[in-house]
Structure formats: structure tokens, C-alpha cells
Amino acid sequence: MDELLLSKVRLGIVAALLASEWTSFGALAETTQTTGGNLGANLAKLVDAGYVEEEKLFVARRPQSRYRLSARGRKAFLEHVAQLQSLVKGAS
């Protein structure tokens, strides 16, 4: 299993990014129901691992970050989910 995606928060972030082009930090916080600090720390780990791409821009002169899933992150997510499914199937 993917060590990075064993965290429920990080798995939720990747799932939230799966169906979007770019997603803002605020929208991610809302979808994953995570506090700003927790989300930021987990996003940084995903960005460092190359699973998520980050873009910084200015909106109304305020800095804002938006994120999207990389090809590597998508592949890791699909493999991780397949392993979770086989674990659940194996137990039942």
C-alpha cells in the first residue's frame, strides 16, 4: 500500500482532486472538511512527493494557491484504492 495515502486526510485530498482541473485551497478544505493548518501540512507532503501540483497566483491582490492531481498522483491513488478493495474483499 502507498504509505502516503494511508492517511485519511491525504486520501481525501487526492479523491477531491481526482475530478477537477484545478481546485482552490478553500474548496479543498470544504470538500475534505479539514482545518486550514491540517490541510496545508498534508498538501505540502503530497506536493513534495509529486502527487499534487501547486500553483500560486494573486486574486484581487491576495495570494492564493490552487492544486491539481499529477499523473503520478492519479496512478498512486488508483493503485492504492485497488489494494484497499482487495483487502476488503479478502476479509469478507
Binding site: 479523491a15 481526482l18 475530478a19 477537477s20 484545478w22 490552487r66 476488503v88
Partner: protein
């Protein structure tokens, strides 16, 4: 990780993915529907009033101005939204493609087919295109859009049997079905 934790993680991921791929949230696009519903409805109204001799034929220019205003509003609003950087889901992107295809086909039919579709037939083309757009949204668990599409199509059928007030009926369809959907979408998400 044990199987119950794995199940919990899977359910959470499925819930998040399903929310962004199943339901087509269009709150961001609601102002487009309101602007174009009002503009299209008013154009129908103006042509009906001209036909009945209630306003002079020069009022045709007002309809051109209204449509131009709707175009300018759409461009300005879309640029402002794009600057926010929030991005779209792939489903929202697909919806926009359906919207542009339907409206583009309607526009070309309108601009190039005035001998085939005389008088209010040209407005009816937009009624059909707009209802296709709303039915597409309706397919993604949005009942307000389904209702809007039904209202638009109903206005077409009713107008067919009321030849003296076709413009009024088509205008009502755009106001209630298209602009009304935009208002309902704004209210539902707040």
C-alpha cells in the same frame, strides 16, 4: 491497516469522488442563465410588440443592444471567474462544451437559416437549444434544471397553438425556464 479501516477509507474516497462527478453544481454559472434568459425573453417580447404595432419597428435595435449587453456581461463575468483560480470539475467543463455546442448550433441556424425558419421560428431555435442545455444538467441530478427544460419545451408547444401571441409565450418560457433556473440555482445553494 485492517479491513474495517480499509472499508472506511474506501467509503470516504467514494463519497468525495461521487459528489464531484455525479451532481452538476452550477451556482457559478447561475448569472449566465439569468442574463441570457432575461435578454432572450425580452427580445421575444420586443418582436411581439412590434408585430402587434405597440412599439415602432426601430425597437429592433433595442433587441440587438440587449443581446450585445448579454455577450459583454458573459465575457466580463467569465474573465472575473477565471481570475479567481478556483477551476472547474471535469463535469463542469463537459457541461460548458455542451452549452457552447448547443448555443453555437442555434446561433448558426439563426444567422444562416432565416429563410427556413421565418419570424418567431428563429427564437424557437434558441428555445430548443436552451432546453437541451437544461436537460443535460438535469441528467446530473438537478431537478431544477429538468423543470426549466420542461417549461421551455412547453412554451414551444403552447406557442405553436397560440399563433397570435407566440412572442409572449416564448418570452415567458425564457423568463421562467431559463432565467428562473438561474435564480433557483442561486437560491438553492445559499
Amino acid at each position: 491497516m485492517n479491513s474495517s479501516e480499509a472499508r472506511e477509507h474506501l467509503e470516504m474516497a467514494e463519497r468525495i469522488v461521487a459528489a464531484s462527478t455525479r451532481e452538476l453544481s452550477l451556482r457559478y454559472a447561475a448569472p449566465f442563465f439569468i442574463a441570457w434568459g432575461l435578454a432572450s425573453g425580452t427580445v421575444c417580447l420586443i418582436f411581439q410588440l412590434i408585430e402587434r404595432g405597440l412599439v415602432p419597428a426601430t425597437a429592433t435595435w433595442a433587441s440587438g443592444g440587449l443581446l450585445a449587453a448579454a455577450v459583454i456581461f458573459s465575457i466580463v463575468y467569465a474573465r472575473r471567474k477565471a481570475r479567481c483560480g478556483a477551476g472547474l470539475t471535469f463535469l463542469q467543463r463537459e457541461f460548458l462544451n455542451v452549452l457552447w455546442i448547443a448555443m453555437g448550433v442555434a446561433f448558426v441556424s439563426n444567422a444562416g437559416g432565416w429563410n427556413i425558419f421565418p419570424t418567431f421560428g428563429l427564437s424557437a431555435i434558441y428555445t430548443i437549444a436552451a432546453s437541451i442545455v437544461l436537460f443535460y444538467i438535469g441528467l446530473h441530478e438537478n431537478r431544477r434544471a429538468l423543470l426549466g427544460g420542461i417549461v421551455l419545451l412547453a412554451s414551444l408547444v403552447v406557442a405553436n397553438f397560440m399563433p397570435s401571441v407566440v412572442g409572449y409565450v416564448l418570452a415567458a418560457g425564457f423568463y421562467l425556464g431559463y432565467a428562473g433556473f438561474g435564480v433557483a440555482e442561486l437560491m438553492a445553494r445559499e
